[in-house]
Symmetry: D2
Subunit: 251 residues, 4 copies
């Protein structure tokens, strides 16, 4: 990408490379889900955030190396993750590879039931467990950090007519930035938008996205995911040096 400021010189800008990972099981085994996402949740998200100018590819569980070879991850600035039924089928080697890449600066956006994925648990250090029920309740996601770039273009809240209910206690470390709190009809609240940093990498957990509702067609939900990608793709500092080092001063 080339950028010109005023009549000045043209700058090159590198577009953000996004890999959308999806377990891709519900959509092939449950007709109700297949009707909503005929080409999979990953394709719906890819189409939905397409207009934001990312370089997008998708990957799914059944591919070799779960679609996440070292090459793919090396070329990924931000990884989006949706999984639910088959967390255990993601290979430990792939999980370790993603973990290392996050610490080296790759962004990670974990969606909905991805809270129980191996990679999210490993990065959080906790069980990431929560309460839930599937009752098609209305949810309202309130912005509680309006200074955050992930809230750009969103009003005071996002309303979802039907969503799986998630409830507290959500067993994660206290988020560094809490951007959204979800209100559910049935009486629960949930920390629905949580930002973390680990090593050089940034992580955003975003709760919406039960497979039985067309949530990844919601304009606001897509906007938040796109914002999260941009935020997680922001530049960072230098790779740290670890281990034995000589003194910098005369001692």
């Amino acid at each position: 990408m080339r950028v010109r400021i005023g009549s000045g010189p043209l700058f090159e800008m590198k577009p953000v490379s996004v890999t959308i990972w999806n377990e891709f099981i519900h959509e092939r085994t449950d007709p109700q889900v297949a009707r909503i996402y005929p080409h999979g949740i990953h394709s719906a998200i890819a189409a939905g955030i397409g207009p934001y100018g990312f370089r997008i590819r998708t990957a799914t569980l059944e591919q070799p190396e779960n679609g996440l070879s070292p090459e793919v991850l090396e070329q990924t600035d931000v990884l989006i993750w949706w999984g639910h039924l088959a967390h255990e089928q993601v290979s430990d080697e792939v999980v370790d590879r993603i973990h290392a890449r996050v610490l080296q600066g790759m962004g990670l956006v974990v969606l909905h039931s991805g809270h129980r994925s191996k990679i999210f648990q490993k990065l959080m250090g906790t069980t990431c467990d929560l309460k839930w029920r599937t009752a098609g309740e209305r949810e309202r996601l309130w912005v509680v950090a309006p200074s955050h770039p992930i809230a750009e273009g969103i009003g005071e809240y996002i309303e979802l007519p039907h969503e799986e209910t998630y409830g507290e206690f959500f067993d994660i470390p206290a988020p560094e930035e809490l951007v959204f709190i979800g209100w559910f009809q049935g009486g629960e609240v949930f920390r629905s938008g949580c930002a973390f940093s680990r090593g050089l990498g940034k992580i955003f957990y975003f709760q919406p996205g039960h497979e039985e509702y067309p949530i990844y067609y919601n304009r606001d939900v897509l906007r938040v995911i796109a914002n999260a990608v941009r935020w997680a793709a922001a530049p960072h500092g230098a790779l740290p040096v670890f281990g034995n080092v000589p003194p910098l001063e005369n001692v």
Copy 2:
């Protein structure tokens, strides 16, 4: 207080000195409130947290120096604050005095409409504004930091049958520890239990307590206030030295 561990020696323990400050206007002008709190909100809280072993005194707006002379504050480990109609009538001198004492280590527990008090605004550096309505809605305060001592003795949530609704955005700095999130029947959420530290002092904002409902008789609400007092009264480090200092190393 003297403490014996096993058959060992007896230790002295200093009980916590609490001053409960109340504006004390509603209770003398509004018969409905007077029926609930015939001796004032301060007296109800004093009675309610009495069993926790604090040394309690009360202070009200109409007293000389708003009841908060230098001597009173000097002898106060934790100040509890309830105000609503007359924030502007608290003298700036008293506010500055409280501010200085908090930075020197006095705890501060700000209740309900105290969010708009001069002292809370001054310590937060923001407007502390919010949304509200008085519709007698049910509130459920969920514990989202169960590791926090302020959550001791409370179940997963506190339920209040009727409370004034407060809604986000609550214009405060992101709390250092978010202990409670409130769910309201009308569709709002609220960061209802927020912990901060400033200088040597600790501050807890706790949302329940509209004057038209008997909230300060609720066992759980009183327990949280007592826990907050203990937390805010915990020991702290040494008074810092500021200004010009010589080097500690040869330079």
Copy 3:
């Protein structure tokens, strides 16, 4: 600014408008400082961050309304602040105006002795006091949050051959993100790069910049200031609504 992604459409991008405020006294009264900054610290910073593509203007204390009329602030995305001798001469009206603009989303980058400015104290709610001495010690600013965009382009640390020493305790609220910790030859450490958010606005405090050393010609220091401007100018969420609101659900 117009941006083209690949062979795709051309996007407009709004450049960031920066106002650099300087007290501008040392440079006109102290020959040693005048030699280093003949046109003032503000001009040196303006020249130094010029290559980053901002729309820059400067403002100084002696101008009408301290150079910060409502119009100027309205057109400012990020305000940079350097002051030392004359904090008290900045008018309260101007301070309140800046405060309101920060809460509405203007970024603020406070440099060095600006820690004692009225606006920083007001936003922090604390004294912002610290230890200091002017002994020309070496400082090394270590990056402790390499995931932060403010650390972009910086190595593991920034080394300054001579700087005024600042020491802890620095009486600020715990920063939301601590990006730099300063090491000083004489034995002190300092939280030298501190990020905060207040309302819709973002604030970065950056410690380097004593007027007697040519610090605002240092490539790394300028890079951090430019990074901080970009970070503070990032988009944010919608302006909140405060006050009495009807319920969103039937109650």
Copy 4:
């Protein structure tokens, strides 16, 4: 323990049960270390924090189940951890057991080279790597959170005449509370006192304690460890319920 307030009734108080875990290899293989800690680091710490009234036991690597059977952990309020050479020899089963207990409310105080222990890495979700050298440099640990109970009884800093140097970047999640920053003669800084919470449990990492220097005889270091035990043993909220739950409201 029984407590009497004034002339009032006698209350029972439960003393804090502490288990001090030590790898206990250096002290049996390195004569220099054996001279400093003839009975092991664990015994020195046990003696040093004895006066604070804890119920103390010790455990070491070579014991069955590494000294940490389910029964021992069940009876432990706070676990102190020192390890260096043999992190890999701690059994995964024991690590998982400790992890579960921390999430259920047991406190954990990780000392010095324990930063690379399996349990700390698992709880942090990062490598916990850092820079180091053994040059016997002077360290000064500055209190940067004087409101924290862990700083009680400590002056503005702790000075250690000789300590192994640890340097940034320390690959941990940003601590929820940063209590100490270490200054080292050779030019490094380090986040030396870091507080975290995970689930119901609290974790404190404290950097001092290289085996070749008599650091666990230092009065201030022992005071911090005792303070950390008390802080980590503080009461907490109720055990959360996870999984499928019915609604609390009629939907």
